[in-house]
């Protein structure tokens, strides 16, 4: 029904303009929600218009960064790309992205759709858009309410993948046993990427490790090198399931105490030098995923490397503000793995800093805050002299204060201020030139709103010290 489609499209477009006018621009899923209400199969009208097809990126962490890197590389090579850039990765957000660039007659003109898709929404989204390629980053435990469901989530993703056409291509992380197993389960043509398991990149915290058992025979996996969370060089002593040799591998990795990541990317006998302007091994994984997908789509490796070397993180998940002469960094933390990576980021550099941590326990944050005890706050004590004050805010500010106390932070450095305004004012009024703010999902918005009212938003900081961790 073309009339229904157009009605949905126009009303959604009006909603988009309205939300811009009223300044409530955060509602990136509202137009999509409205359109779906009127025309549930709206994506069908668009799916045939993505000339060279759709590429989907799913998994727990790294979806936004990976899809932005991939879209960037494709654009760098001259293609026109639709991308749900702000991380609106549910069905409604994806619909909104299409509506945004759609003409009033419902036409979109693009070569590729690069879509990050929430793991839980994946089975729904593929009903309307069949991707030619699916990239899976990793599977970590997310909000702990949902912990028992990680197995269920993975099997739903696998179930959905099996419904795709036989020539679907997969790009999989070889270092995550929960991801690597999917090649055998689906039988699709798979390209693996991974980091060469060298002792010097081996990680320390094992608190939030997820898969310790062989996904095929339940025997405990053994690790020759363990990178972080359950990622590493694993092997099942019983059935022989083992880390696949990656087709694209990063070696000679430099990442500790630096604001960039350097590596040599190898494929067969060719190699390229990667100098990512963002930090953290997790960003190297994101870059590897984007590189591998790009190569499989026929891009020239040199073009992709050049694009990755210029990668700038999108604002939204990580934002930098300037308050007087101080630098304020705001980042979203949503699970133990991501929180640990954000803390790793804080350790880089030599400036003294104050820390504000905002923890909420709404549904979107996870109602159980026990996961804070799976975060390795103890590592902050390695550079104890650099962290001056810890200001805890949000609905569960007290729990955060208790956690820091038991991590060994001195009580005199910790304060509880449940009011966001007062907490932020306290954080900004200290002696430190750098203030880092970490907030859970529903705490990020109020913190950001208050911050942008009293300070200047910096588009791109000169250093990308702490980038998106999701």
């Amino acid at each position: 029904m073309i009339f229904r489609f157009l009605l949905a499209l126009w009303l959604a477009k009006i909603a988009m303009v309205m939300s811009k006018l009223t300044g409530k621009g955060r509602g990136s899923s509202l137009p999509g929600m409205l359109a779906l209400r009127i025309c549930p199969d709206i994506l069908k009208h668009y799916s045939s218009q993505t000339g060279r097809g759709a590429i989907m990126i799913t998994g727990t962490n790294g979806k936004t960064t990976t899809s932005n890197m991939l879209a960037g590389a494709l654009e760098h090579a001259g293609y026109k790309v639709i991308n749900n850039r702000e991380g609106a990765n549910l069905l409604t957000g994806i619909v909104t992205s299409f509506i945004k660039i759609s003409s009033f007659t419902g036409k979109v003109s693009c070569d590729y759709a690069v879509l990050e898709v929430d793991e839980a929404a994946f089975p729904v989204v593929i009903k309307w858009i069949q991707p030619r390629m699916v990239t899976i980053t990793n599977f970590f435990r997310d909000q702990l309410d949902r912990y028992g469901e990680l197995d269920t989530t993975i099997s739903k993703v696998v179930g959905a993948l099996k419904k795709l056409s036989a020539d679907t291509q997969l790009v999989l992380n070889s270092d995550d046993p929960l991801v690597a197993k999917i090649a055998a389960e689906t039988g699709y043509q798979t390209t693996y990427y991974g980091i060469r398991p060298a002792a010097e990149i081996s990680g320390r915290a094992s608190y939030s490790r997820e898969a310790k058992f062989c996904p095929f025979c339940s025997e405990a996996l053994t690790y020759a090198v363990y990178i972080y969370s359950q990622l590493g060089d694993y092997k099942c002593p019983n059935c022989g399931f083992t880390r696949p040799v990656p087709d694209i591998e990063a070696a000679s990795v430099r990442h500790r105490q630096a604001k960039t990541v350097g590596a040599v990317i190898r494929s067969g006998s060719s190699e390229w030098r990667l100098e990512l302007p963002v930090q953290g091994l997790y960003n190297l994984y994101n870059a590897l995923a984007a590189f591998t997908a790009s190569i499989k789509l026929g891009l020239k490796p040199e073009v992709v490397i050049a694009s990755l070397n210029r990668y700038l993180p999108v604002t939204g998940r990580m934002e930098t503000f300037k308050y007087k002469n101080k630098k304020v960094i705001l980042a979203l933390v949503k699970n133990p793995t991501g929180f640990n990576q954000a803390l790793d980021g804080l350790l880089v550099g030599d400036e003294e800093q104050d820390l504000l941590i905002a923890i909420n326990d709404n549904d979107a944050d996870g109602r159980d805050v026990s996961w804070l005890w799976d975060v390795d706050f103890e590592i902050l004590l390695e550079r104890q002299e650099r962290f001056k004050r810890f200001i805890c805010t949000g609905q569960r500010a007290e729990d955060m204060a208790v956690r820091l106390k038991y991590a060994g932070v001195s009580v005199a450095q910790i304060s509880i201020e449940k009011d966001y305004n007062l907490a932020i004012q306290a954080a900004l009024s200290g002696e430190c030139q750098v203030i880092s703010m970490l907030a859970t999902y529903t705490a990020v918005w109020p913190v950001e709103k208050i911050l942008s009212g009293m300070s200047e938003r910096v588009k791109f900081s000169e250093d990308h010290g702490m980038s998106s961790v999701s």
Partner: protein, 241 residues
């Protein structure tokens, strides 16, 4: 003085930040100036429970239960003797269920537990999830324990003493108003949070029982618990008003 803490299967049973219980016990001993050794005991690792002052058993997901039940089977006599000799134990969620007689699956199959406590667990049709407040009596002092429960099994404790009375939430089974179980110096609970950091009265009670078992009769130095108390009170206020 040196205190020995045993964390059983930290690699397998580490659901919902439960290692925070070990951390709370250890820190509150260290803040009082005592030395603490933490033994992490995994599948097959040797341990004599008689030498342990505090044993912690956390919860795990279903796929881990079989491996653990098999390994625990070899340790059960040694553990039983230590428990009868007043070993201080904290068992949470899956660890709690494991100490009981059996776990009955939705298909009616009874998976045997260690049988150290006269309790049993039945798979429920809905998970019991949410914040909980429990009134407990510790060392004849009333105290309000808070935490977060998330369990599919419903536990029935027969004549075993409960840890406390549910004031808000579900507790053992959502029916009889009990939460957790106590036997000698064994304390069981469904509460995550984790339990000990936000309930320092319980932590200190476990510490004093452990010292008593070693033959020390000393009054614990008071610590500044203002953060712990405000976290506890904030939740009590939210749940009860």
């Amino acid at each position: 003085m040196k205190i020995t803490v045993c964390h059983l299967y930290p690699d397998l049973l580490n659901l919902y930040g439960d290692r925070g219980n070990v951390l709370a016990f250890v820190q509150r001993c260290r803040w009082r100036g005592w030395q603490v050794e933490v033994m992490e005991v995994n599948l097959g690792d040797p341990v004599n429970f008689a030498d342990v002052d505090f044993l912690f058993i956390g919860g795990g997901s279903d796929r881990e239960q079989n491996l653990i039940a098999a390994d625990m089977g070899k340790r059960v006599e040694n553990l039983n003797r230590a428990i009868e000799n007043k070993l201080v134990v904290l068992a949470i969620c899956g660890g709690y269920q494991l100490l009981g007689k059996y776990y009955r699956t939705p298909e009616g199959k009874e998976i045997p537990g260690l049988g150290l406590l006269d309790i049993y667990t039945v798979a429920g049709d809905t998970r019991l999830i949410g914040n909980v407040a429990v009134e407990a009596e510790l060392d004849s002092k009333k105290t309000m324990l808070v935490g977060f429960e998330n369990h599919g099994g419903k536990t029935f404790i027969n004549d075993t003493m409960p840890l406390g009375k549910v004031v808000s939430g579900n507790g053992n089974n959502g029916v009889d108003g009990t939460e957790g179980a106590r036997y000698k110096n064994v304390f069981c609970s469904y509460l995550h949070g984790p339990l000990l950091p936000k309930n320092p009265a319980l932590t200190d009670y476990l510490i004093s029982l452990a010292l008593e078992r070693r033959g020390y009769d000393l009054e614990l130095t008071e610590l500044d618990d203002s953060f712990e108390e405000s976290a506890n009170k904030a939740m009590v206020k939210r749940l009860i008003g």
